[in-house]
Symmetry: C2
Subunit: 240 residues, 2 copies
Amino acid sequence: MPSLTEMSPEDSAQFGLQRPPALTVDVVIFSLALPEHNLNTLLIRRANDPFKGEWAIPGGFVNYNESLKTAATRELAEETGVRNVYLEQLYSFGNPNRDPRGHTVTVTYFALIPADSVQVIAGTDAAEAAWHSVYKPPPLAFDHARILQYALQRLRYKLEYTVAGFKLLPAEFTLTDLQTAYEIVLAEKLDKRNFRRRLFDGDVIEQTDRRREGGEGRPAMLYRYRADADPEVKARRLFP
Amino acid sequence: MPSLTEMSPEDSAQFGLQRPPALTVDVVIFSLALPEHNLNTLLIRRANDPFKGEWAIPGGFVNYNESLKTAATRELAEETGVRNVYLEQLYSFGNPNRDPRGHTVTVTYFALIPADSVQVIAGTDAAEAAWHSVYKPPPLAFDHARILQYALQRLRYKLEYTVAGFKLLPAEFTLTDLQTAYEIVLAEKLDKRNFRRRLFDGDVIEQTDRRREGGEGRPAMLYRYRADADPEVKARRLFP
DNA sequence: ACAAAAGTGTTGAGAGTACACCCATGC
DNA sequence: GCATGGGTGTACTCTCAACACTTTTGT
């Protein structure tokens, strides 16, 4: 970036003499609907807009002196009530005509949250917030359909190479649930024994002494993620 | 992003009533110095600044109605004279105090260019542009040292999984040069026969009928990248 | 003929993949 | 006792990694 004193006319415009592109963040939230065997994303319905009534990914403007991740966290909470999620940066989209109201650059984030872990509420900036299937999304405002596809691709990539799938489940989960999570996201059936072997080889989950009671058939042991495990990124592919 | 009519006070500030964060792009350019066995990056020296005299990654402000990639391409050309490079988005950095002059969000890009392919000239916005070793960089302005490390990590990752290393070489190259490129970037010695086997298994390069003359020893065949090849991303690790 | 770099195959180890039966519980 | 989902081991294939000698050219 050039210094203040060596700015061209366009450059100095960015410090207030002429409007720069607007800057927003958008947050793709993924969660599972295990009973329905579906992958969901959290969308808001736009209220008063060229896009009135259309669904969109939650997000909003970045404030001055606010970091990108803070802005994303804040907008997510304001618009949907979802808090305490680990956000990961996805990509930045800046096509000048992605928003018909004016040039807007958006930095996108994504996160995984446990099934049914949050109560979704519509915030002040959104008329409504609700879960929708990632595989059959409603029509989306702006370029949000593209952003959603990009996020899904990244989620799959992440699950192929890491055991991050547990983030889509409650703190304690059965191995069958975890495998089901992977099968829903990867849209592919996995072998039960191979799945478990790689999971244990990775050395990142541990058995609890509790079982899931109440279902049909033999009760399954509950497992949890090991707090002391390497959180990320094996170099080799784990799944499928 | 909320609509215009549902904006909070902070939101409407972003459309001009109060200053938003500034928005810039920065471009990390990698190239090889094969004789010196070194990986270089193109830096500019800042002219009149809190950072006067320090080196920095080339970049600058995004204009209104200009896409991010266009802005990156333009700034690179203006500041260094480098043109016609394929840019890939890296990450966006937005920490409020990464620039002491005010909150500035930067979208970073990186690119690989063939050794000695371009004539570097200092543009109007930079006092000087020059190649520097990635492994022993000079002190850098802002958070540019961190950006450079991040770019190097991504470059290594890319070369481990793809045959993109040829982008660091002229259109026709010897297999030994290509292997040397990988060894410089990965900072690791590779096995000649295994390297060649994986390269040919990938089916992305082809022999020309020309040889590199003039050196010592047996002349090496020249190869080129196959225009019709899959450009990207094998799922499995290729190198080392 | 010798110095220098190019080019070329094989083997053993480890990882990946496919596959089927017994177990514990609730009704 | 039977229906339901939970849990476990092995054999084959293929990929990965280690390793050394012959060939072609210039001097």
